[in-house]
């Protein structure tokens, strides 16, 4: 029987990852994510897992990718500067199809920025930070309970799609404490590590109908080759234009064909809304309060709260844009996801950016004021 607990977002994230089967953590200390490493250091050895503090951020992801190939479900956690350093190997994981979850508890950047202040400035880096064409899955929870649930989902998606998954836990959600009731462990769906199709002629990178390969863990007798070079179904490098094209297409398509299923979002008051806030992460919390206050004044406001940031919820935004006058996008950055909203809206509705980048979180009043202005027919800002 699950009990109510007062938990921090970072703590819920660590527990969610463990509940989903993570048994290996490697990382490097960085504010505001360090609690995740500290909790893993304490919890993992007691449940047959391994924690290791590495010499730098790059080693922090390299070590988990090695551990993933040797059979463990793996996690690392960082913040902006460390996330930048990890980018090359996030691409390695995408190409070599290694399941791994990278938590980025976002803070104000660029550079060292404001280390303990909240921001959502890594939204685009999560999508495009590593070089070359690659798909990306990134989730951004808005509550402590959802920090747990999204960590479970992130681990499951990493395993199911054999891909790196980014958990964007902004500093608000990471450091916030809330009363939560965690799900009963028996009720948590856990995606198991894919097993290789054994038998002669096994090809580690041959994909099935879901376009995901069944790559054997090291030490299981398959003697596979894993490389960051473009490779064919055998896993060995190939310089062929066709192999290159097919590989890059399959990497994208394996996520694309599951896009609707992995697009998690919530709608509030969308039935009658004329002005719709599109928000994510900690910002969605104050946006929600701001929407409620606006509705009390008779403004037809609503909200779409995105939990899946990447792949972007194109269909959801496109359909919403057809029904409303305005899409208002508050973000703790200079304006990032607003461009995706604008693209998906396709000119059907006005898309207004409401950026904030001064270390302070939005207040509900700021959101309400922006909605009032829209309702009066004016632009915000």
């Amino acid at each position: 029987m699950s009990q109510a607990r007062l938990m921090q977002g970072n703590e819920a994230c660590a527990e969610g990852a463990i509940a989903a089967g993570v048994r290996f953590f490697g990382g490097y200390p960085i504010t505001p994510s360090t609690e995740i490493a500290e909790l893993m250091a304490k919890a993992l050895p007691g449940i047959g897992g391994t924690f290791i503090q590495m010499e730098d951020e790059i080693a922090g992801i390299a070590v988990i990718l090695g551990a993933a190939l040797a059979g463990k479900k793996v996690l690392t956690a960082t913040s902006g500067p460390g996330f930048s350093l990890k980018q090359e190997l996030i691409g390695y994981a995408a190409l070599a199809e290694i399941p791994a979850v990278i938590v980025n508890v976002t803070r104000v950047g660029p550079s060292t920025g404001q280390p303990t202040s909240p921001a959502q400035g890594d939204t685009m880096q999560a999508r495009w930070g590593t070089h070359g064409d690659h798909p990306m899955i990134a989730l951004s929870p808005w509550t402590v309970r959802e920090a747990f649930d999204s960590a479970v989902l992130a681990v499951n998606y990493a395993e199911r799609f054999r891909t790196p998954v980014i958990l964007l836990l902004d500093e608000i959600v990471g450091h916030m404490r809330e009363r939560v009731v965690l799900p009963d462990p028996a009720d948590i769906a856990v995606y198991p590590r894919r097993k290789p199709n054994s038998g002669p002629g096994y090809k580690a990178y041959a994909a099935g109908p879901d376009l995901v390969p069944h790559i054997a863990d090291f030490g299981t007798g398959h003697r596979i080759h894993v490389t960051g070079l473009i490779h064919d179904e055998t896993g060995f490098p190939s310089g062929s234009p066709k192999v290159t094209e097919d590989s890059i297409r399959r990497l994208h398509q394996k996520i694309e064909i599951a896009r609707d299923e992995i697009t998690h979002y919530e709608e509030f008051f969308t039935d009658d809304a004329e002005h719709l806030v599109v928000a994510y992460g900690g910002t969605a919390r104050t946006a929600y309060a701001g929407v409620l206050a606006a509705r009390k004044q008779g403004i037809k406001a609503g909200m779409i709260r995105l939990m899946t940031i990447w792949p972007f919820a194109d269909r959801v935004i496109k359909q919403a844009a057809a029904r409303v006058q305005t899409l208002l996008v508050p973000e703790l950055n200079y304006g990032q996801l607003v461009y995706e909203v604008e693209r998906a809206a396709g000119g059907q509705a006005r898309v207004i950016s409401l950026p904030k980048y001064n270390t302070e979180i939005f207040t509900p009043a700021e959101i309400t004021a922006a909605l009032e202005k829209l309702a009066q027919g004016g632009e915000t800002k």
């Binding site: 290996f24 490697g26 304490k42 050895p45 007691g46 047959g48 391994t50 290791i52 590495m54 010499e55 730098d56 790059i58 080693a59 390299a62 070590v63 988990i64 990718l65 090695g66 551990a67 993933a68 190939l69 040797a70 059979g71 463990k72 793996v74 090359e88 190997l89 390695y92 090291f218 030490g219 299981t220 007798g221 398959h222 003697r223 596979i224 080759h225 894993v226 490389t227 960051g228 070079l229 060995f236 490098p237």
Partner: protein, 271 residues
């Protein structure tokens, strides 16, 4: 088929290395050491970085992991700690290990995870066409040092010793039998082992520095590689270009995954 050839993916050969390159000699020495120890191909993982020597992983019939530039040691650390029953051997070059991967090299040695690092030292970045590395001697020419290198090289064996490696050895592509023994010794050591294998790059290093062809470079190794005990007896003047070979250092310290097993016991008792 010769016995050591079972450790090769024969279908992946021929290799990509230039005529006269010494990497094949070092790679073969690894397979001969594997044969000598009877290494289980299904329980041994070869991890490499990026560069000429790091392409060896693709030719060897084990689970093999060709990682990113400089990162072989932390990837290998993850493999070993995730499944300590696996033997993990790292193949790396002088640029890969001591420049971009230098920090990982130091900390790998410090942690004493049971990894055997075979450092193919050809004193140059070969894959990119002959740029100076941290192991290029001073006043040698490279494409990025057309007037000669200014900065000094360091000694990776001394560095590994200072950082805590528990088995350190050096040999050359000329001293093949010794190299096989030293690699085998490193694999047998339960801890972080470094075997520096000096190898020739006649195309991108030797030619530019008037060191002659591959045979001449091997001859230079035969004349300058001196067993440690004999080397220590040389005067500074006699030492010149000479370098010590054989087992250079051995020490005893708990292996990381063995030590972590104690942590697991402690945590288990507490919970």
């Amino acid at each position: 088929m010769r016995d050591h050839e079972k450790y090769f993916r024969m279908g992946r050969l021929p290799h990509i290395w230039c005529p006269g390159c010494g990497n094949g000699i070092v790679m073969k020495a690894l397979t001969q050491a594997a044969l000598k120890l009877g290494l289980d191909q299904n329980k041994t993982v070869i991890v490499s970085g990026i560069g000429c020597s790091s392409r060896a992983s693709g030719y060897l019939d084990f689970d093999t992991l060709h990682t990113a530039h400089g990162r072989a040691i932390p990837f290998a650390t993850g493999v070993k700690l995730a499944n300590p029953e696996l033997k993990v051997i790292v193949i790396t070059g002088d640029g890969d290990c001591t420049a971009i991967g230098g920090n990982h090299f130091i900390h790998g040695a410090r942690r004493n995870v049971d990894l055997t690092v075979i450092l193919f030292n050809n004193n140059i970045y070969g894959m990119t066409g002959g740029q100076a590395s941290p192991l290029t001697p001073v006043n040698k020419k490279a494409t990025t040092a057309p007037y000669g290198t200014v900065d000094r090289p360091f000694d990776p064996c001394e560095l590994a010793k200072a950082a805590g490696a528990t088995y350190i050895a050096r040999s050359t592509a000329y001293h093949v039998n010794q190299l096989v023994e030293l690699i085998a010794g490193g694999i047998e050591n339960n801890g972080f082992s470094l075997i520096e294998a000096i190898t020739q790059c006649p195309i991108s290093y030797g030619r530019r520095n008037k060191m002659g062809d591959a045979a001449a470079m091997l001859k230079w190794m035969s004349q300058n590689g001196v067993p440690l005990a004999a080397y220590q007896k040389l005067s500074d003047e006699q030492k010149g270009d000479k370098f010590p070979t054989g087992v250079l250092h051995k020490s005893s310290f708990g292996e990381y995954s063995d030590e972590y097993a104690h942590i697991i016991d402690m945590a288990g008792e507490e919970s």
